[in-house]
């Protein structure tokens, strides 16, 4: 078991964004988290990475309780995320962005950074090589010295994924990676996530692009109004009437449009 989400509740003032949600994610899975807008998906990501604490409930990662641990320590342990509204280090180059991602897997401090002993130079070299390799993986190697804010939208999303992978996560959290991409780009994204999975990374993905989700995920949880509405394989979810009513809509609806 990679991640176990146990009975999470989250209230913002009077609004309860999550109510008693439990999810278990197995190693190597691509797990989908879907649901209507405002269902609490991003909130769940924020709780997993402890950007804010849950009101009640617990999260364990490889059987270790991680609730209340500082966000950077969570990354250290092997969970890394991307953001729904892209949050790159906008003034840095593409390569630097990825190198920052490797921060928690390197250790040079002030003195070794300044005086550059051998160990520091090797480490720096390794980080750089790894970053270049990851840029190749996401297809951005020719943009390595472009400042990231000048990249196109889809490229920025892929860069965010590369940056997250640079931290060697065991669990990768993707928040709507396909938003704003057209279908061709989405298809490329599909390949990318599959490759990430092949590296042995477990993926938890939030996405509204149903064809992508259904093709990509091994299992899916549907949230609705902060509550778990359904859980299962893509087929089960696609055919679950409650999910269709609350989220997917039927093909006929589509045709009316």
């Amino acid at each position: 078991m990679v991640l176990e989400i146990k009975n999470i509740c989250k209230n913002f003032g009077g609004i309860s964004a999550l109510t008693d949600v439990s999810i278990r994610i197995n190693e190597g899975e691509i797990y989908g988290l879907i649901g209507p807008n405002g269902a609490g998906k991003t909130t769940m990501f924020n709780i997993i990475t402890n950007m804010f604490p849950p009101t009640t409930g617990d999260i364990t990662f490889f059987n270790r309780r991680i609730t209340g641990i500082k966000p950077h320590n969570i990354t250290d342990l092997g969970i890394c995320r991307t953001f729904q509204n892209i949050r790159l280090f906008s003034q840095m180059t593409t390569l630097e962005n990825v190198m920052v991602g490797a921060h928690c897997r390197s250790k040079a401090g002030v003195l070794s950074g300044v005086f550059r002993p051998k160990s520091q130079r090797t480490e720096e070299q390794q980080i750089r090589e790894k970053a270049i390799e990851l840029l190749e993986l996401v297809g951005l190697s020719e943009y390595h010295d472009v400042v990231s804010e000048n990249l196109a939208y889809g490229q920025q999303r892929r860069l965010e994924i590369a940056r997250a992978i640079a931290s060697d996560p065991k669990l990768l959290l993707l928040d709507e990676p396909a938003a704003g991409m057209n279908e061709t780009e989405t298809a490329n994204l599909f390949d990318l996530i599959k490759q990430v999975q092949a590296r042995g990374v477990t993926v938890l993905i939030i996405e509204h692009d149903m064809p992508l989700v259904m093709k990509l995920c091994d299992r899916i949880t549907v949230l609705n109004f902060g509550k778990k509405l359904a859980e299962g394989t893509p087929e089960e979810i696609q055919n679950n009437p409650a999910v269709i009513e609350a989220y997917l809509g039927s093909e006929e609806d589509d045709e009316i449009a």
Binding site: E183, T184, P211, A246, G249
Partner: protein, 236 residues
Amino acid sequence: MLKVTGIETFYDKIQALKGISLEVEQGKIVTILGANGAGKTTTMKTIAGLLKPKKGKIEFLGEDITGLRPDQLLKKGIALVPEGRAILSSMTVYENLEMGAYQRNDKEVEQDIENVMKLFPILKERKTQLAGTLSGGQQQMLAIARAILSKPKLLLLDEPSMGLAPLIVTAIFKIIKEIKESGTTVLLVEQNAKQALKIADYGYVLETGKVIISGNAEDLLEDSRIVEAYLGKKSS
């Protein structure tokens, strides 16, 4: 009603638009398609007055409107729902809607706000919540609702379906159609090419700042170049 001829827009020294011309007829839905970075958003911002074109001319209802400020354009009837849901996050949902009707002085504003909240019931529920704490999709709905409230003649929509749940996407496209039927002309930028072309009357395809294809929506849906580039191999 809108006629754009040969506009060129720059970000500092980077030329984003290299002579775009397009036309929108009254009462129609016209859609602009194109890959990431093609210049769709730049086109919309230029029309809405947020960016000033270096060259070219924009006419609205026969009048030259090139270089006017956004607030002046709104007065003439052009409203924009920008990409990335520019809601006012430190104001409440209701205040955001009120701001949508900023230039109106009629008595029906309140009634109209009630009406759009019926269109998006979640907004009614969250009337007094700060807009910045809405979920991504809720913010998008707010942005559309807000633009409708200005009662525009021409509504510019930049990727309205981005980040929305499938049901809501369907609903949004339905609403766009309703908006058109109520007499407002729509210029729509979409990644969701298939859905967009289904409701549109006419379409343009941009690539690196230029119009490369244009035509009736039905024709474009069949166009092999478009099917390949934007509808993807796996269009269901």
